[in-house]
């Protein structure tokens, strides 16, 4: 952002002296790779619009008539389990846990970057190190606790767990975004008599809005994708979309169109969010270390 020229500068610098044909060939190679990587997704999309019999032909049928049957089947229109409750649970678990993470991470990031507490690097490392603890290592006690307290099959338990799963990353990302706020701006607000809540709302939040959005996006994606906790801790009532999808694992391919429709629908929020914020995604996934 700070140097709008970088995106243009480096390709021109590397490309200018190269023979034109080599450049064209490398461009074609890039296209070829993109097609290879994208083919499974394109094929999944096409299959989702085929009838089950057309979906299951060998060699594949490209020109078969399109139909919405796969989607109708998935949404339980012709009987069968409806995915709506699972989708609603996923929305609750992802959105609420993301909000909770932001609520906890923003003040923490402020304390770590704008007016750093002593030993702030150590604190930051502690946050990050909890991310290195594999989820499976704490799964059993959480399960036993949930069983004892009757929280099994309760979507709010997932909200708490997903928040703890994403909090370290969020703190790390946000402190690196907040670090970019000019100190002078905050000092000036203080001189004008603004107190912490006002500074947060009027100065910090507006400037770091894109960073906060990127953090929220990544927390949302990780929560939406999570399977292990959801698989073990939920049942009928609180199952999430990924758990709903596990129902397709053993289907012997008889419902290929339905599987494809289901996979696409459930991936759609993440695909849309990811495409819309590609650059932010890079910055966030590299934990703000890449600028």
């Amino acid at each position: 952002m700070s140097a709008p020229t970088t995106g243009v500068r480096s390709p021109r610098a590397t490309g200018a002296h190269r023979p034109r044909t080599a450049n064209t060939l490398l461009g074609l190679l890039a296209w070829l790779c993109a097609i290879v990587f994208f083919l499974p997704i394109a094929w999944m999309a096409l299959t989702s619009f085929h009838s089950e019999t057309d979906a299951a032909t060998n060699p594949p049928s490209l020109g078969a008539p399109l139909t919405l049957d796969g989607y109708r089947e998935f949404f339980g229109v012709g009987g069968g389990a409806s995915p709506w409750p699972a989708l609603a649970n996923s929305v609750t678990a992802s959105v609420v846990s993301t909000l909770l993470v932001l609520l906890l991470a923003l003040p923490a990031a402020y304390a770590l970057s704008i007016r750093p507490v002593r030993k702030w690097t150590d604190v930051l490392f502690f946050f990050l190190s909890t991310k290195m603890l594999p989820i499976v290592a704490g799964l059993l006690p959480v399960y036993l606790f949930a069983k004892q307290t009757g929280l099994l099959d309760n979507v709010w338990l997932l909200v708490i767990l997903y928040a703890s799963m994403n909090l370290p990353i969020a703190v790390w990302m946000m402190q690196s975004f907040l670090r970019e706020i000019p100190v002078a701006l905050i000092e000036a607000a203080k001189v004008d008599g603004a107190r912490l809540p006002t500074i947060m709302a009027r100065v910090v939040a507006p400037i770091s809005a894109p960073g906060i959005a990127a953090t929220a996006l990544i927390c949302f994606i990780f929560s939406w994708n999570e399977l292990l906790f959801a698989r073990v801790l939920t049942g009928v009532v609180a199952e999430t979309a990924p758990v709903f999808l596990t129902g397709f694992i053993t289907s012997q391919g008889l419902f290929l169109a339905k599987v494809c429709a289901a996979s696409l629908v459930i991936s759609l929020p993440v695909l849309a969010a990811g495409f819309a914020a590609q650059d932010k995604l890079v910055q966030g996934l590299s934990l703000g270390a890449v600028k």
Binding site: A30, A108, I114, F125, T130, L228, T246, G253, V290
Partner: protein
């Protein structure tokens, strides 16, 4: 750690509250707490939800405890660890985890580097190519696993065999991919998902490369390979490390692909899957916990390396 802390706080002293340096009267201590205050909710929450369960896992791992036989629960010191390390199935899953993680991270890192280099140039439709390449990373992991299992690998009407049939006609080989190369099947699906991630990070690294140094090298007569070897690669080092590190942290924990594609069969059960099975289906709480602790020890080894990488990133950032 302590040297990192001192060197990196130094340039930031201008931001520190004045009280920080002076030893303290009560008002100083109050101010120090006020500075720490905003940190506490996140810290307390994290300790309660992540550290406490892990401590419980540690304790359970010292018990012989099967949920089917609750009365036989007893304290057995390290018997579970001994069992975990001596049981072939569990030992194999340790090996599988290492193999899976190393293969997936290395292959996707190399492919990601190639793609990043291809994309770090101008050509027609670059934006579309980039979007298409990112897509695999944005498919929900279990959906991706289902896609590979049913839509691509299926021996009768999967896309792979369909393409073989198409190209080579009716006599084409129609392998049963998952049965013939189970671990390879899981790895391929994961490489497909993780290559875009590596590409994204490395592309960001390439675009932050100082253009003037490259220009100067070129004027001095350096070839494309020399520029790559002596300028690009050293510059990319920390991005490669970051990609490897984050990739490892996530691939070590992979559950979705193993659970979906092979259900842990045919020698593909990694530790997360084995632990899931030991406690969720076998109800062997003690043994599952011991295996969980072993995963943590393995991760800690990665993490020590990881944190060193991160702290070096940090120092550069603070120095800048």
């Amino acid at each position: 750690m302590s040297t990192a802390a001192t060197t990196s706080t130094a340039p930031r002293d201008r931001r520190t509250v004045p009280a920080a340096g002076r030893p303290g009267g009560p008002s100083d201590r109050l101010r120090a707490w006020a500075a720490r205050g905003p940190l506490l909710p996140a810290l307390v929450f994290l300790i309660l939800v992540t550290q406490l369960p892990f401590v419980a896992t540690l304790v359970i791992s010292l018990f012989k405890w099967n949920a089917y036989y609750p009365k036989e629960r007893s304290f057995t010191w390290f018997a579970n660890y001994q069992e975990v390390l001596s049981e072939p199935a569990l030992r194999d899953s340790v090996l599988t985890t290492v193999l899976l993680t190393v293969t997936v991270v290395l292959v996707s890192l190399v492919l990601g580097l190639g793609l990043a280099l291809l994309l770090d140039r101008t050509f027609a439709g670059r934006g579309i190519v980039r979007t298409m390449l990112i897509a695999p990373f944005l498919v929900v992991p279990i959906a991706a696993a289902l896609l590979w299992k049913h839509v691509l690998y299926n021996p009768e009407y999967g896309l792979f065999n369909g393409l073989l049939h198409w190209v080579f006609g009716d006599g084409a080989a129609q392998p049963d991919w998952i049965a013939e190369m189970p671990l390879g099947a899981v790895e391929a699906a994961l490489v497909w998902q993780w290559t875009p991630f590596m590409m994204l990070i490395l592309l960001a690294g390439l675009q932050s490369r100082p253009a003037d140094a490259i220009e100067a090298a070129r004027i001095d007569g350096a070839g494309a390979w020399q520029i790559f070897r002596y300028l690009t690669l050293p510059h990319l080092r920390r991005y490669l490390e970051l990609g490897a590190l984050l990739g490892s942290v996530y691939v070590v924990q992979n559950f979705d692909a193993v659970y979906t594609i092979t259900s842990g069969g045919l020698g593909t059960a990694n530790l997360p899957y084995t632990i899931y099975q030991t406690f969720y289906q076998g109800h062997e709480y003690g043994r599952a916990s011991a295996a969980g602790v072993l995963v943590v020890i393995g991760s800690l080894i990665i993490a020590t390396f990881a944190l060193r990488v991160v702290s070096s990133l940090f120092r550069e950032e603070s120095a800048a």
